[in-house]
Symmetry: C2
Subunit: 220 residues, 2 copies
């Protein structure tokens, strides 16, 4: 993640536009070997349509079919670029991580250390300015825009809170408390820049915070 160039933020989970399979959308008649700009434009069109649709309808009501219609492309092409609605949201908002990919990694390992893995992951990810910047930009917008905050709430609930809570068999509110702890620390560290929190090392913070996260995720 640390070496990912800034303009590459939306490339996952699929590969480059040039890998696109033949599609029945408007782009299909124009594809020639090496003709990447057309494909990149199509991908950009889809992302622009996704941003518009997500912020108008929220995450829950947006559909891949609706976004394809808005972008004027075939839904199969949207499915090709973005494996899931979560993946498309992540790409459209230029988020540094896709919960579809990250959650299994964090879940994989001893359950008694899940708090530590999650805490270390969040602190490491946000320690990269490139990864942090789009997250904070979205938070800033959400703070003053009801439509954006609804979209963020639905995404968090669907892609993160309910999924992790279900996998661990805990009440969702416990996952929310853990998320609030980590989110609060990231805000204090990188927006408010409260010292000594802002200058503390990742391992010092893992030691301080992971037992809290673990307690919530252990369940009542």
């Amino acid at each position: 993640m640390s070496e990912r160039p800034a303009d590459d933020a939306g490339e996952r989970p699929e590969g480059r536009p040039a890998d696109a399979r033949p599609a029945s959308g408007p782009e299909s008649g124009r594809r020639r070997p090496g003709r990447r700009p057309g494909a990149a434009d199509t991908r950009g069109q889809i992302l622009a349509a996704a941003r518009e649709t997500f912020s108008e309808k929220g995450f829950d009501k947006a559909t891949i079919r609706g976004i394809a219609r808005q972008a004027g492309v075939d839904p199969a092409l949207v499915h090709h670029y973005f494996a899931s609605k979560e993946g498309m949201f992540v790409a459209a908002m230029e988020l540094p991580v896709n919960p579809d990919e990250v959650i299994p990694t964090i879940m994989n390992g001893p359950r008694a250390e899940i708090g530590e893995r999650l805490t270390r992951f969040v602190l490491t990810m946000t320690s990269e300015a490139e990864a942090r910047q789009p997250v904070l930009a979205l938070v800033r917008t959400a703070m003053t825009n009801d439509q954006v905050v609804s979209m963020v709430r639905e995404f968090l609930t669907h892609a993160l809170v309910n999924r992790v809570a279900a996998e661990l068999g805990i009440p969702p509110i416990r996952m929310e408390a853990a998320f609030a702890q980590l989110f609060g620390v990231v805000l204090m560290r990188y927006v408010v820049k409260l010292e000594p929190l802002a200058s503390a090392g990742i391992e010092e913070l893992v030691e301080l915070l992971a037992p809290t996260v673990q307690r919530y995720l252990d369940g009542p």
Copy 2:
């Protein structure tokens, strides 16, 4: 706190403007029995000067003397209206609570229950829309304004974090972790409106969160 009208947010820690003792400032020659508007204007002038000074210089470098000069009044009058620089900041930002008053109340009682008292206080205070609104307004401004965020950081450090950490004899970072937990929950509850957190009762949340806060405040 719950019955305080919205436009009364800055009246504490002192009484009404009409209680003002004779002062040597520009207002002194104009005071007559029952002539409250003049006093209210002076208080408003001081608050306007305080807002300007705090956001230009931050909390640490602002002085009561400098704010008095900016407002064109005698420093004794500023001291009369606002017992301390913290009190003036609280009034200028229309914050619902003055740490000068609240911290002793929370500290007073069994140390093993301080996490519970602090958690219940924060949740009860923020459950009142009138009390929450100016806090969230300040957070929203701080999110996009470097000068405001510096001012907030200095106020938090001086009036809250360092004071509580010193009284409890714990490293300040532990108080910051506790603050981040409660702040994160308030944001998730009232800005993101994440469910079930947003609809949970105060006592359910105290039970969930107080052990976390207690662990941080117990020290390493």
